[in-house]
């Protein structure tokens, strides 16, 4: 069954409770009158389909554990923050800190993403069809950020074991970035992520960014002891 839930000016806790109940009943959920409001669809369960019509505010899909979320237009700050599984699609622009500290799942942004996309992410994949903003990938522990339309300044600053893949121009690199030519096997792994989204293009000139491991926490400590992930 398909259920329509109106957000409007209602208390977001009530809206989220209605969403939780509908998903628990196995319904497909559409949320209308989203009005860029914050915290919509935070903490959703392990399965279900939900569609937000219009734009959403901060933290949409945060702590997601498996739900498939479709956002018709823009998302505010930190869409999918801390998510461990599931799939989030943003039809337009994703604001700052998209996928911050996410642990798993996929975020697919059809437009551009704001600054610090994938900051401190610990797993999962972020695919941005446009450009990723200033200092994207900052301190990413694990997972992949894949930008098909270039990157802003200070890209991939202070990475741990996360990877930033960029096709297109990079305005500038961050501290401690090592840019490497990916192997065919590595490109094939990325194409596996892009394939279900219909975004594979063999003509792309990839730049893969990883940590240069020259920062103090790599040099002055036993790095393996500090990489606790």
């Amino acid at each position: 069954m398909s259920v329509i839930i109106e957000a409007g000016k209602r208390h977001i806790r009530e809206v989220n409770q209605d969403i939780q109940a509908a998903l628990a009943a196995g319904d497909e959920v559409t949320v209308t009158e989203t009005l860029s409001r914050h915290n919509l669809g935070v903490g959703l369960p392990e399965q279900g389909d939900i569609s937000f019509k219009g734009s959403v505010g901060y933290y949409c899909g945060g702590l997601n554990t498996g739900t498939k979320i479709d956002i018709e237009r823009n998302a505010g700050w930190a869409v999918g923050e801390g998510m461990s599984d599931g799939h989030i699609t943003v039809g337009g622009y994703a604001g700052m800190s998209c996928g911050a500290a996410m642990m798993g799942g996929t975020i697919h942004v059809k437009g551009n993403a704001g600054p610090r996309c994938g900051v401190a992410m610990k797993g999962g994949n972020i695919v941005v069809e446009g450009k990723i903003g200033y200092q994207s990938g900052f301190m990413a522990h694990r997972g992949k950020i894949i930008a098909l339309g270039g990157a802003g300044e200070s890209c991939a600053d202070a990475l741990w074991e996360g990877e930033v893949w960029v096709a297109g121009p990079v305005d500038s690199y961050g501290v401690d970035v090592k840019v490497i030519e990916p192997t065919a096997e590595e490109v094939a792994e990325v194409d596996k992520i892009l394939d279900p989204l219909g975004l594979v293009d063999s003509s792309r000139d990839w730049r893969k960014m990883i940590s240069g491991q020259r920062l103090w926490y790599f040099e002055s400590r036993d790095a393996s002891a500090w990489l606790m992930i």
Partner: protein, 314 residues
């Protein structure tokens, strides 16, 4: 974290109403105090003053002494001042005064009584209303929704660098530059350094609020010959901290952001009108239909929007 907002209309209209909506949607960003800067129809001579007295028990003496200072500068009240007072110890006053000539000299004298009575805005069209509490309470107390104008600013304050006091609220007037006001979201880390430099040039600061600096700093740069665009751009590399601020003048509203992209600002521009705010959900209170939002998310960004459908694009 604070929330800021700006609104521009094509023609004089209910800008006060819209600013209250913009700030009501952002009250969760700071309900310590709320303030508004409204640019109404300019008066041809004299100035509109918005003032605050800190103890209503001394209201008569405050007004009498303040009038003496005005008269010493060839000015006086035009009509009776309007008093806004409730259970709080402080009270607010709106008055129109005759032109006191040299504003800097006059406000220099008037500020000698700023420990009990403070001028919070001075301009031919600018009026700053600010008080402790949330947007609806402040708006109801001061009749902000009924204020007519072409543009204005709003601010919801989460106090960090200075106390929760009605006079430490935003917006701040760029003392002594008439008709210039600012709202700010962030922290200025080198404000004491800048403040001391400006004080040595004769500028006076009445609060411990770091934001008070920005309005004066930008206005001083313009006094030295920079355009508004140049002054805003220069502030990004000259002032240290994380910030997004909006500066309003009769000509329009400008904004500037720090080098680290820590503080957001979004805007909707439709048919020459503008709503800008920290959060997208606020601008949607004014433009309820789905329309394109411009996210100024990046570092070191600035822009200028003209009031009354005049282009001031940077």
């Amino acid at each position: 974290m604070c929330g800021i907002a700006g609104r521009i209309l094509n023609a004089p209209g209910k800008v006060g109403h819209d600013l209250v909506e913009l700030m009501d949607a952002q009250e969760h960003r700071g309900a310590d105090s709320t303030g508004f800067a409204v640019y109404g129809a300019p008066i041809e001579t004299g100035y509109i003053l918005r003032c605050m007295g800190f103890d209503k028990a001394s209201m008569d003496a405050d007004l009498s002494d303040f009038r003496d200072i005005l008269m010493a500068h060839g000015s006086d009240f035009v009509g009776e001042p309007t008093i806004v007072s409730d259970a709080a110890k402080h009270y607010c006053v709106r008055m129109v005064v005759k032109d006191p000539g040299d504003i800097a000299r006059w406000i220099g004298d008037a500020d000698d009584m700023s420990h009990r009575f403070e001028v919070q805005s001075c301009g031919r069209s600018l009026e700053i209303i600010k008080d402790t509490g949330g947007s609806v309470g402040v708006a109801d107390k001061h009749g902000v929704r009924d204020m007519i104008g072409t543009h204005g600013l709003g601010h919801a304050r989460l106090a960090t660098e200075s106390s929760v006091l009605p006079n430490a609220s935003h917006p701040f007037w760029a003392r002594p530059f008439p008709d210039v006001a600012i709202v700010h979201n962030g922290q200025i880390t080198d404000y004491y350094t800048w403040r001391e430099k400006l004080q040595r040039q004769g500028y006076r600061f009445l609060t411990e609020n770091d934001s008070e600096l920005i309005a004066v700093w930008v206005s001083d740069q313009m006094k030295q010959g920079l355009t508004a665009e140049q002054a805003l751009r220069k502030s990004i590399t000259s002032i240290d901290g994380v910030f997004t601020y909006m500066l309003a003048r009769p000509e329009g509203i400008g904004f500037a952001k720090d080098r680290f992209a820590m503080k957001p600002i979004v805007a909707i521009e439709e048919n020459g009108e503008l709503a800008a705010a920290t959060e997208e959900q606020a601008v949607r209170r004014v433009f309820a239909d789905e329309c394109d939002v411009i996210n100024y998310d990046g570092p070191s960004m600035m822009g200028i929007w003209g009031a009354g459908n005049r282009s001031l694009a940077a």
